[in-house]
Symmetry: C2
Subunit: 247 residues, 2 copies
DNA sequence: TGTACATCAGTGAACGCGCGTTCACTGATGTAC
DNA sequence: TGTACATCAGTGAACGCGCGTTCACTGATGTAC
């Protein structure tokens, strides 16, 4: 049966080539589904996502979508994970442009807000109200969310090591429970940074988040007028308090 | 027609008494509708509010609700306005307990977060994703939202006047556009405070908001462990930077 | 006080709509030898 | 290379559900004199 092995090999090649083509087509269609889902959410809000509406826009019938996603919830999960990763990608690529840690940290912060403003729906999807009836598989989302946080933590660590970051003595007054948790967290993968760094990262993150969230829903503009200026001013203040020079 | 006037008077009394009773009943029912609406949103998310579901829970038919609210959107508006006012009430009452301005400011900040945690749905309703298909009448909501902000502004003004609040010189670097807007805003009713104060209020507000929003959707606990401690620590830091003593 | 009338809360049926999901199917494409 | 077979995308009908809103109505309560 020498020839059999031979032909088996050829067939396997052909299978691969063909199924790869099919696979590529599948991925394109999946991407289109997700893109249209995002369009709908942008127009009507995250909670308005509907398989039938997506199918209508794709000139397909609704059951056809079940070839690509086993249910509405799995589609939402895919969108959420993609959003978390896109945000982290944006931050990582911003961090990769320049050299100085403080400058890169600034770039990352600006990239975070920019991504949020350019993808308001994805931002709402990951950080806003949950969609009725949907429950995120937290083991997946927590890990995806951590990626973005780690970018900031690493830059802070770098700045600390370089002596650029000088944490104020007030961090010695950090609550004991929090310090304990952070000390334990710092041993986990991706988080090899002292509690002070993790605390600063959390502060920076929550301050950014507050402004962006208020900005996204138009609560901030009536109060400060120049939201962009306010954001930069607030972040400058944070940098100054850490002894970092503002780019 | 002397007697007519007499009876007219009596009748008007009776009308008042009866219609007042009916009016009271109407208000009770309206309150019940709103309470059940909140229950449903708490269970399923703000976007899941449904008149039919409310009616079912009240053992009524759905059309009956139209005696109390002309449409679903008006019910949502009522809920939003009530939430804004309840939050402002909580803050005002916290501000009224003690005497020292810094202490009262601290109390107000704690009351803000406490209200948010105790009324997560109302908080999402006013500060979270909009409900699909609903558009808030901004002329009403902006004014309702301002009440809470003004409480903080007034306390800061008081602390400034008393010499307790010492704004750092970094406020001189405030963006020009923002400074201009705040200067103009300060002339409006309720806002008689210099730009520095309005800027500090906005900073405090957005910092609180970021933490609470992340906390509400369970994003913060995995990062800092002790959310309560983190919030107090972050607010202490703000107080320290303003020269205010921490209660 | 009694009586005709007006007001009001609430009903039940209906309209027209949209939803997620299932199922048996068709027809095209790829696989096996 | 030709042919039988398997895989896969997509259809169309259906299930059972829920939604906001309208309409003509009933029956209780309040009003007017």
């Amino acid at each position: 049966m020498e020839w059999r092995k031979q032909t088996d090999f050829v067939y396997r090649w052909e299978i691969m080539a063909s199924s790869a083509r099919r696979e590529r087509y599948r991925e394109t269609t999946k991407d289109e589904i997700k893109a249209i889902a995002r369009q709908h959410m942008a127009a009507e809000g995250t909670a308005a996502l509907s398989l039938r509406a997506i199918a209508r826009d794709m000139e397909m019938t609704a059951p056809a979508l079940y070839r690509y996603f086993p249910s509405r919830d799995e589609l939402i999960t895919a969108l959420i994970l993609e959003a978390f990763n896109a945000l982290a990608d944006a931050m990582e690529s911003a961090a990769a442009q320049r050299t100085d840690a403080a400058v890169r940290l600034w770039d990352v912060i600006m990239a975070y807000r920019q991504w949020a403003l350019e993808h308001p729906i994805d931002f709402q999807l990951i950080y806003g109200n949950p969609i009725p009836g949907y429950h995120a598989p937290s083991e997946l989302t927590v890990r995806a969310a951590a990626r973005a946080f780690i970018v900031v933590v690493n830059l802070l660590s770098e700045a600390l090591a370089a002596g650029a970051l000088k944490p104020s003595p007030e961090y010695e007054t950090m609550p004991a429970a929090m310090h304990g948790y952070l000390a334990q967290l710092s041993q986990q993968d991706g988080y090899d940074a002292p509690p002070v760094i993790l605390c600063i990262a959390a502060q920076g993150w929550s301050r950014m988040h507050g402004i962006i969230m208020l900005e996204l829903f138009e609560h901030l503009a009536p109060v400060v007028g120049d939201v962009d200026g306010f954001f930069r001013f607030e972040m400058s203040s944070l940098f100054r308090s850490m002894g970092l020079t503002i780019p």
